[in-house]
Symmetry: C2
Subunit: 280 residues, 2 copies
């Protein structure tokens, strides 16, 4: 999915078609909210209208409503809109639950500092891996994992980590239904994938060496809760050309160490006897 390139002047009309799934105005409103990004935190009405394909007056009304609810506010200088602090109030209960974010933040920071590559905290959401925290690489050329980005590719390192903890039948069902995408899947591939997952468990971390996207590599390691269940994954992603096989190994180890640190700080415990000593 990801954000596709948007043509500047697409057909202005065409209401109704498109996805048009049993929905509502709310979808439009959310689309407006989503146009705000970290790169472009401030937007004007016309700008938003063009991007979401709605008319100025509609967007203006939506924004006015949001402003009234403090979900957006306007820069006093530029008079343009930006996300409002009321969003904190709405998302607050969610953030409160995501203690992992807080705990992971300094660890990710350190990890990116150490490796120079983008690191992220991913959580499993039934059938997709979502980024809930991210520290971008300092490099000019980098692979970033936007906050809230969702991954459903079987080869994605974080997806591998989460699937490695799922029952075999569940994994098969996810692949069969296409909820987890695996291009050109066949029975042999399915068996091979199960073996791959076993390797992940054995190794302690997952590898995606350009398998989902040609010029991107990723490594991911699991974070456990107190019951020994996987609740999150630490992910390092980088452009492929910068990562040799040897470096991949060291990234994987750094990633695993970071994940273990998050685990212990969360009061969790890694499963099995691997490294029974207290990490430190």
């Amino acid at each position: 999915m990801m954000v596709d390139t948007m043509t500047p002047a697409e057909s202005p009309e065409t209401t109704g078609s498109g996805d048009a799934k049993g929905t509502s105005v709310i979808v439009n409103a959310i689309a407006v909210l989503r146009t705000f990004t970290a790169d472009e935190p401030q937007l004007g009405v016309t700008e938003i209208a063009n991007r979401v394909g709605l008319h100025k007056s509609t967007v203006s009304r939506i924004l006015a409503t949001f402003e009234q609810e403090h979900l957006v506010e306007r820069d006093p200088e530029s008079r343009r809109f930006r996300l409002g602090l009321g969003l904190i109030a709405v998302a607050g209960p969610l953030l409160a639950e995501l203690e992992e974010r807080r705990v992971a933040y300094p660890v990710l920071r350190e990890l990116t500092e150490q490796t120079g590559e983008t690191s992220a905290l991913m959580v499993w959401n039934g059938a997709e891996s979502m980024c809930v925290e991210q520290i971008a690489s300092h490099h000019q050329i980098k692979h970033t994992t936007p906050l809230g980005a969702r991954y459903t590719d079987a080869m994605s390192a974080s997806v591998q980590v989460f699937l490695s903890a799922e029952p075999v039948e569940r994994v098969r069902a996810l692949l069969r239904s296409g909820e987890i995408s695996y291009p050109g899947l066949d029975d042999a591939g399915l068996d091979g994938y199960q073996i791959k997952l076993k390797d992940v468990t054995a190794r302690g971390w997952a590898i995606n060496y350009g398998e989902s996207s040609l010029d991107e590599v990723g490594v991911a390691a699991p974070v456990y809760d107190h019951r020994g269940d996987i609740v999150a994954a630490v992910l390092i992603s980088a452009p492929r050309f910068r990562v040799s096989r040897e470096r991949l190994q060291s990234l994987g180890e750094a990633c695993t160490a970071a994940a273990r640190k998050v685990t212990t700080r969360l009061g969790g415990r890694p499963p099995g006897g691997t490294g029974g000593t207290v990490p430190g």
Copy 2:
């Protein structure tokens, strides 16, 4: 209710309090989102419907839309709704801007650890003080400051901090217009309040000793950015019975120390000559 009245709509001027204007379905939808709290992260359709005063089918539809957009999700066990990770994606750009939150978190944690009372990070939003981070006291009896809570009371310690940096006329305007509430305000009170604000600046932190709410006390200290402007405030709030005048002093000092720590970690500088060591 009105059927296509021929009479032109009433002039939508009058900036006064009569809200309920410029509304929409979106307001209802947001209301639904707001019913989720940290105390009750999971809710059923009927429950929500009762609280927001909408009908079940309406709420059901709204929730379905939100679910589709990943703003809410349902617990696989209980089948009840809770906030979804998609909210992270929406609020992400905002959170990215609020670097203060991250920096403040460990400091607040330490502050609450040390004082035993609830601490919070407040930011100023033109005319209200909003909580963007909070650590709750461990005590059974405590005053909590929910994430996203907004304060507009002139006696609130954090409001005092922010107003102490505003021009005199601006303060007067805010009080006169009622944007900042000051029960029984008169000219004498206004002068007295200005003096109070000067004291805050001089002392370096603000006191609310049961002045806004009888059984609650608060102290707050300013956080500065690199320009020396106040961008946030650290707040400690506690039940009044637990805070003697002496303890108030020590809380204020702890609060000030914490705020200063946040300031320096943000690369900010306190105004005046107080310990302005900033790494170059």
